[in-house]
Amino acid sequence: MEHLANALVQGVMIGGLYSMFAVGLALIFGVMRLVNIAHGDLIVLSAYVALVATQSLGLNPLVSLVVVVPVMALVGYALQRGLFNRTMGADVLPPLLVSFGLSVIIQNALLMSFSADNRRLQAGSIEVASVTLTDAISIGVLPLLQLVLAVLVIFGLQLLLYRTAIGRAFRAVSDDPKVAQLMGLNNKHVFGLAMALSCMIVALAGVLLAIRANFDPATGPTRLIFGFEAVIIGGLTNFWGTLAGGIFLGVVQSVASSFDPGWQILAGHIAFLVVLAVRPNGLFGAAN
Amino acid sequence: MTIALSLRNVSKSFGAIRIADGIDLDISENEAVGILGPNGAGKTTILGLVTGTLSLDAGAVEFRGRDITALRPEQRCRLGIARAYQVPQPFGDMTVFENLMVAACFGAGKSIAESQAGCLEILEDCGLADLANVHAGRLTLLNRKRLELARALATKPKILLLDEIAGGLTQHECDELVALIRRVHGTGVTIVWIEHVLHALMSVVGRALVLYQGKFIADGAPADVIREPKVAEIYMGIDTDA
């Protein structure tokens, strides 16, 4: 029983990370109906940027966020203005294929620069620090930090969307991009900012992931899929739903893994397909 | 007389705008009905509710006594409900002839071989035969409207819903259109026609309805309906002081 409870707690923690993968995806879909297949590869790319920053500047990975987050924001803005904006239109095919091509390019560029070896960021003592709750359940400080950061990110995003001018612009462009530009908004710039913001969250998620688990150039697609599953399970309504979706996915994986590690990821996928079959609008989405 | 189409207590709004507010309406088999009303009154929306491209907030739609409220647009089309859109919706990368073939094969449920002759005939009727091989995306607005009508006819409809198809036509073209619609009506097809070009409408329909703020505020012989003061006030803007 305790063993199960521990799996549950760990699942909730990892779910925080998944929801961070997911909100970046949900944000750009919400603002510009773009699904970025390279999302997972951007997460891995940020991990490598952090790797370079820690090695060359001797920074602690958590401190390296000061570099990684702005770098990824620039990457995001540049990708949107240089690439995705040129494919936006009624047809979903061009942006999909372009982001898919980008995904393959990032993976192989990382493969060439860093080889296929497993990497990990060394964050020092925080990695092993933990809080013991009972004999069987202890919560790592790092996973806890992830969950807290995820909640903070989502809280911040909600504030940004509903309390700031840029958030208002995001929502206006999402409602009616044609009229938004007639009211003086530069949609391309707004889209660029949305992608930059998405990539900032990606950077945070990527660094946290890289401290916690091994990564290599090919791990991106799986992160994309986890994020996507969290979005769909969460129900596409708001970011809190996405957080719930991420936690649901984390718990399912963690509990399955406690029985047989081979089933961890498969169980998550199956849970997603079951949700799709039973409640296509998501577990936490509106019933309509 | 049997009823072709019924709306039963139909309601529909977009936000604060009420398009239909508990509408009841019966249209008989082989009737020809015109729908009038100011811009934005929701006439086009009513057609969308009948063809199933829009969903009702409340109420039911019946076709020949059968409740079709839950049916999808393609199912309603195959039952015999065809619509010519106000803003033409051609298949732009297909030729005019192929546009009709889609309607004949799927709307009327025929094979490719069975469809061809009928489609040619409709093209000639609608004055499009010489444009049969032209890609629909290259047609002028006028010809797109003709195609819209031709394609609706190719589904072999029992009821034909027309939305502003006479606008922009010259007098001669308008007369041809009226003659065509009368011919179609003559073969037993029920007609529901939204039109601002009144003289065209009046020469076809035997009954006119005026939609205003979610209700039909007038229903009767066209000549009587347009003389009603209420209708003149809200609809005939230019003629109120005449």
Binding site: - | A16, G40, R138
Partner: protein
């Protein structure tokens, strides 16, 4: 002409793919004027407006605003120059509140007298509903928001596309009273209307479009009903 010329559309042709919608349209608007553009469905009125605001491609010299060629510029740049539209069907941002809709209009940060306070002074009802989602307002109130949203950019010229669409006659009358008041305050306006009577009542100058061309134009008072009917229906 003694008055300052604000907008000049010069031999504008517009195409949608292979389909030509405008065949060389000329229009002039002077400061302080209300110009009406009338015509049947499909005559090209909305196409003309969309070309002016930058939604359709146009050669630079085809549209001149305040002495600068602006044809083909991005819409948001044109707004910054002081040319705004109240779009057909209002097109409010449905998930934004009334006040947020108005604030979007102020994104371009053009200096001028129109502020939230002044909009609420003009349309007091909007102040009461400021935090409501815009989609829950009545048609007339939504039209006020749409006009207010456009005014928030402090335009020199306001384009109004089918203001009367879907509104009760009483409401239409009220909306046009507001337009008169706004123009009296120093903003010029181009109104596109199907309601001819309404257009004639308010406009200084009228253009009538037919099949992508200007079929008739002149000072509103000088045009006879017969001439308009002929130009309108092309008979």
């Amino acid at each position: 002409m003694p008055e300052a010329q604000l907008l000049r559309v010069n031999a504008l042709k517009t195409f949608y793919g292979d389909f030509q919608a405008l065949y060389g349209v000329d229009i002039e608007v002077s400061a302080g004027q209300i110009v009406a553009i009338i015509g049947a469905n499909g005559a090209g009125k909305s196409t003309l407006l969309n070309s002016i605001v930058g939604l359709n491609p146009a050669p630079p010299s085809a549209i001149r605003f305040c002495g600068t060629d602006i044809g083909g510029e991005a819409p948001y740049r044109i707004v910054r120059r002081g040319l705004t539209i109240v779009p057909e069907g209002r097109r409010l941002f449905t998930s934004l509140s009334v006040e947020e809709n108005l604030l979007i209009g102020a994104e371009v940060k053009r200096p001028g007298e129109w502020t939230l306070a002044k909009i609420y002074q003009l349309f007091p009802i909007l102040r009461d509903f400021r935090n409501r989602p815009a989609r829950l307002l009545s048609g007339g109130q939504q039209q006020m928001v749409a006009i207010g949203r456009a005014l928030m950019s402090n335009p020199k010229l306001l384009l109004c596309d089918e203001l009367s669409l879907g509104l009760a006659p009483v409401v239409v009358k009220e909306i046009y009273l507001y337009i008169k008041r706004i123009v009296a305050g120093g903003v010029s306006a181009v109104i596109v209307e199907q309601d001819i009577q309404q257009a004639l009542k308010i406009a200084d100058h009228v253009y009538c479009m037919l099949e992508g061309r200007i079929a008739l134009q002149g000072p509103a008072r000088s045009l006879s009903r017969e001439a308009i009917a002929a130009a309108y229906f092309g008979v």
